[in-house]
Symmetry: C2
Subunit: 258 residues, 2 copies
């Protein structure tokens, strides 16, 4: 047996998120099925992902690992997986990794991006990948909130019920709004994310962007350690897992393909 | 009766292009139906578009006009049309215009953009809006071809059979490849376009980008006035009508909304 790491891009629109559920189509489910078929395994092959993206959330750089007896060379493995995967999920690269590599527990940080376009009228192009808000948003006001997130905080106020994590303390390494053409993008890099954390942060920063919440009130909401103190959870389709980070020398996808 | 101009964005994926056909769903067809319903007209209301985009081609700034007895104020008209339109077509703005305004014959130029991403593996995100090519493309080589297009030329070599236009001479005002993140974008602005012209140009420039055609051979293909002298027609989904230009003082959408 050897361990393989894969980097994945997917359009999460038609999936109930990454993680296998009792019922319904999940990204992990279709990837596990593709691995089973590509490697000729007799039963289910567990595939562990770094980030358990929610229903409707996309990924540009999800990382996952699995163990296989197959001797397919990594480039061939990537193409074989893509042969079996539906067209909204793609393996961008595959690498053989050390037996103790763990895509989830070995990750030191993840980067997410939330895309927004302000437009009174419906915007068909890219509607699967960005949230449209029918009002203008004050970028500077949202950035004033975002910049307060750097460092270590208890994110209870931005954590939905239903997550299975015992701690709500996370360290944020980057938290930034940027203009991208007519869109506004929120980038957040952290050592981990609590359940719905990015979407709750974005939904609350929208209130600041609409002039309904000051930066001081945002800080108070964070300090309140109470989900009811913060704003609503933004819809999933604007969100994408952009990149997963591993310690130096442990990133399977650092550098050019072998 | 008064004349209204509308600016449209649409995802052309699920349409047989702009123009109404004997059978099948077209953008013009759904817009005409929306106008009929929004204005309470008894029969078909002809809507004339500036650019007759092909099957699968998108638009960010199509312009069209129609006549109506409705007295709806333009902002209300835009919202009423969007109420009746499917979600992949949207009226971005509506304006009342002079009776002699003609969206198609009054246009002095149109700007199209073709989006490409070079990636050996499938790329699910944005797959409706950009062509993926599984090889690298030499941007400089493609730009050497593109820069030859500025000015007035006979585009017979880049015109598919089946168009209904008598002349194939067009004046190109801008012709440029640009890097946009990991994508390559081709922008072309001209006083008009022959049938499949942009896609034939792009398909032929891809040959230059792959090192199979020199800039000199591209010039020869243009001068040959023979469709067989040029390269293949690129697929439609990378293409979008970005903007329609009118003479100064005649652009319904110049300046802020009234």
């Amino acid at each position: 047996m050897r361990r393989m790491a894969i980097k994945l891009e997917y359009d999460g629109t038609d999936y109930l998120g990454w993680q296998v559920q009792a019922e319904g189509r999940t990204v992990q489910g279709v990837v596990e099925e593709a691995v089973r078929r590509a490697t000729g395994a007799a039963g289910r092959v567990p595939v562990q992902g770094a980030g358990r993206t929610d229903t409707g959330v996309h990924a540009e750089g999800q990382v996952a690992h699995f163990d296989t007896a197959s001797e397919l060379e990594p480039g061939t493995m990537a193409r074989a997986l893509n042969f079996w995967l539906p067209r909204d999920v793609s393996v961008l690269a595959a690498r053989q990794v050390a037996e103790d590599f763990n895509a989830r527990y070995g990750a030191v940080a993840k980067l997410y991006r939330y895309r927004v376009v302000c437009s009174r009228e419906r915007r068909p192009l890219g509607r699967r990948y960005r949230l449209r808000v029918p009002v203008g948003l004050d970028l500077a006001a949202m950035q004033e909130c975002a910049s307060q997130l750097a460092g270590t905080h208890d994110f209870t106020s931005f954590t939905s019920a239903g997550g299975d994590l015992s701690s709500t303390v996370r360290t944020v390494l980057r938290s930034e709004w940027k203009r991208a053409g007519e869109e506004l993008h929120f980038f957040i890099k952290a050592d981990g994310f609590t359940y719905n954390m990015v979407r709750a942060l974005v939904g609350t920063m929208f209130e600041a962007g609409r002039g309904k919440l000051s930066a001081g009130q945002f800080a108070e909401a964070l300090a309140a350690l109470d989900r009811r103190a913060a704003g609503p959870t933004a819809p999933p389709h604007g969100l994408a897992l952009v990149r997963v980070y591993y310690p130096p020398g442990r990133d399977p996808f650092a550098g050019p393909a072998p």
